[in-house]
Each structure stands twice: as C-alpha cells, then as structure tokens.
Amino acid sequence: AETLRASHQWPGGTGDMRDEMVQIIAKEMEKSDTGVTVRVYPGESLVKAKEQWGALTGGQIDISAFPLAYAAGRHPEFNATLMPALVKSHEHAKRLNDSEFMQDIKDIMNEAGVMVLADTWLAGGFVGKEGCIVEPADVKGKSTRAAGSSFEEMLAEAGASIASMPSSEIYTAMQTGVLDAANTSSESFVSYRIYEQVECLTPPGDTALWFMYEPIVMSKESFESLSPEAQEAIKAAGDKAEEYAAQAAKDADENMVKVFKENDVEIATMTPEQFQAWRDIAAKSSYKNFAESVPNGQELIDKALSVD
C-alpha cells in the first residue's frame, strides 16, 4: 500500500471547501481499491502555506490545495492567476480554464514537475468600514488591505494607502481603525466575522474584481510512480473534487451575502462601467508592471483578456 501526503493551509474538518476538496480525493482513493491512501495534513500542520510549492517540487508532499500565486516568487507568471479584474465571474473562470492563457500557466507548472488534479477559482469582494467600495474613487485616501501584490499595486494607483497583513488580522485592524477597507476571499470574510466591523460589502457578482486560482495540485513524480489504475482513480477523484468546488465556490459567495445581510451590512453592486474603470486603473499599474517584469507578461495578459 502506498500513502500520499496531502497538505493545505485551511482548518480541517470545519467545512472549508478547500479542505473538503482534499478530503473528497482522500475518500475516493479509499474507495478505489488501488491500495493508495491519501493522508491529509490540514491547517499548515505539516508545511507552511507558502512553502508548499517547494515541498511539492522537492518530493516532501505529494498533493496540495495551493493558491498558485504563492509561488510567484519562483515563477512570476503565476501572478497572472491573482490579477485584478482579469476574471469577471465564475462562468468566465470556467471558460478561462480551457483557454490558451491557462494552458501557458499549466505548461510552466508541468515544467516544474507539478500537475493539476482539479481547477478551482475562488472569488472575493470588498468591504468598507464607512461607505461602499465600488469604483476607484472610493478607495482614495483610505487605508486598505489587499489580498495579493497585484491588487496592492492597483489600489495604490487608485490612491489608497496599503497596509499589508494576513486576513486573520483584518478584524482587529478594522475594529481599531487601522483599516478603512479590505479585500479578500468570500470564505475569509465570513470565517473572520468581518461583517461585525463594516458598513458595506461589494460581493462578487457578474463583475468581480478579485479571483484567485487555487487548484488541487500533485507532484508529477508522485503521480507517475502510481499504477495505471491508481492514476486513473486519482484523476477521477480530482474531477469529482472539481465538480464539487465549482458549486461550492458559488455557494460561498451566496453564503457571504446572506450572512452580511443578516448582520445589516449594506450590499453594493459594481456596474460594468465601474468594473471597466478598475480595469483601466489595473492596466496602468498591475498589468503594466506584470508585462514589464515578466517575460511574455503582456502576451499572457492579452490571452487572458481575449477570453470573453
């Protein structure tokens, strides 16, 4: 019997969708009779969030639910998977998965020895302590926390002052007035009870600014060491996890809106024009920086933007 190690950074057994995805793969493998078991190490209990890429390519772990942009220090192209206003909605994300853009990204992953078991995109929104954040002018002069360096660049261009901190600190920072606005994933907004601190939420709808690619990835070497039956089984398990995640990611957004509404938080919507205004700001800042600092950067952005 062979044991695969699966690592991720989210709490285990509390219903977090990324943990659920990994658990689905573990359960499917258990059922598969291939003799391969998957042992899950949740909540950074084995490897720290940002070190998982190194552990995966170095052979210390076999599987991970991994926000790809965390490895952008090694493969700057990965920053494209956490680029503001590049992905508009869950449907758009699904179309992107089969695009040339994502093919290029996956080629780079493959070259590093990593393959994708399940594609997943997570959405997120904005919260404002006083007033809604829907257009660039809304963040001017505000102390803002953004998830991801490309977002920081865009918000800085829009005139916000950037305060970097992990999402776990948003609550206290809001409470004490260090932060006026923040952006992170729908799951984090709910699990850190940010609704207690804010007046307005801009959820991802048909026009979402924040999407992050968080696939289930596997070391190619580990995959190739499996028997053909086990390879089939784990691919099938990955598909199952992907199917679950597609629905769960949308549910997470809806759940966030529901919870924030229950707590009397105003819900704002971003119009397509406002979305375009953000994209223009992003083009001047994050896209431009990306194109300048990454070989083929412009090409990647263009390929992504060409997907309707």
């Binding site: 952008a72 360096s149 920081e152 660049e153 002052s161 970097s164």
Partner: protein
Amino acid sequence: MSAFIKGVSAVSRVTGMAAAAMILVATLVVCHMVFVRYVLNQSTIWQTELAAYLLIAAVFVGSPYVLMTRGHVYVDLLPLWSKPRTRMVLAVVSFVVSFLFCVLIAWKSWIFWHEAWVKDWTTDTVWGPRLWAVYLSMPVGLTLLSLQLIAEMLAVLTGREPPFGIEDHESLKIGLAEEDVVGK
C-alpha cells in the same frame, strides 16, 4: 591550531557585532514603518519584509558568537554531576551531535541558496527583493557556526578550555557566566 581557534573566534566576534547591529536596524525599520503608516498615513511597501529578513540574518550570523559565549542554553545537570573523564565524553558527544546537525543544514542551505541564485527567485511581494541576497545569511552563518563548533571542540580536546566551561573545583557549585545576567 591555536591560530585556527583564534581566527574563528575573531570572525565570530565580528559577525556577532554585525548581528547586534542588525537587531538595532530592524528596530529602526519597524519604527520608520510605524511613522509612515500611522503618522503620515502612507503605504508601507518594504519595511515588514526587510525587518523580518534582518532578524533572520541576525539569528544565523549571530549564532557563532552566541555559541562562543555559551548563550545557547543547555541542560548542565549531568555535566556538573559527572567526573571529569565522563564530562569529557559528554562534551564530545554534545559536540558531535551539534556539529552533525549544523554542518548538514549548512550544506543544504548552500544548495538552497545556489538554487535561488541560479533561478533568480524573488519574494512574491510588491517589493520583491532577490531571494539569494535574503538567503545568504543562512549558509554563511551556519558554516561559521560549524567552524566555531570545531574550534570549541579542539579547545576542549587540547585542554585549552575545560569541557562545558566547568573547572574541576567548580563541579559542585552551580555557577553562571557573567553574560547571563542581562544588563548586569
């Protein structure tokens, strides 16, 4: 041999001073960030990262000095209670274990540093400094730490220093190096 011990100790002393300076600079960087963020209400881009890297560098390059001045805590119960010959054996075992660990990590960190250099890794932040520069303190510090361990072991084996710094007549009186009283 004496020259080797003295030379390594001299280098350790210099890097120890550098480490102390790094902690001071890290403090100033943190204060600068507080000023920019809370007083000027402007973005802070590089301060948290730089301060954290300075601290890491201080840990690795300061370690040889801390070893030299017996600052890495250890349980001295058995060494104190044992006879001189046994104490020498304990000292050798302690050196061998420490040395194996340090030299192994030093070697692995040179490989890691080299990879970061060749592949031109950066951190995944807006500031995005080159990682080889950030990592450099680790292999350098750990290599010097390994050398310092050899120097200490040689000093003990050649009778220049008593094992664990315990003189024979001291074995029953539990003493404390002067350094351990902070701010004495």
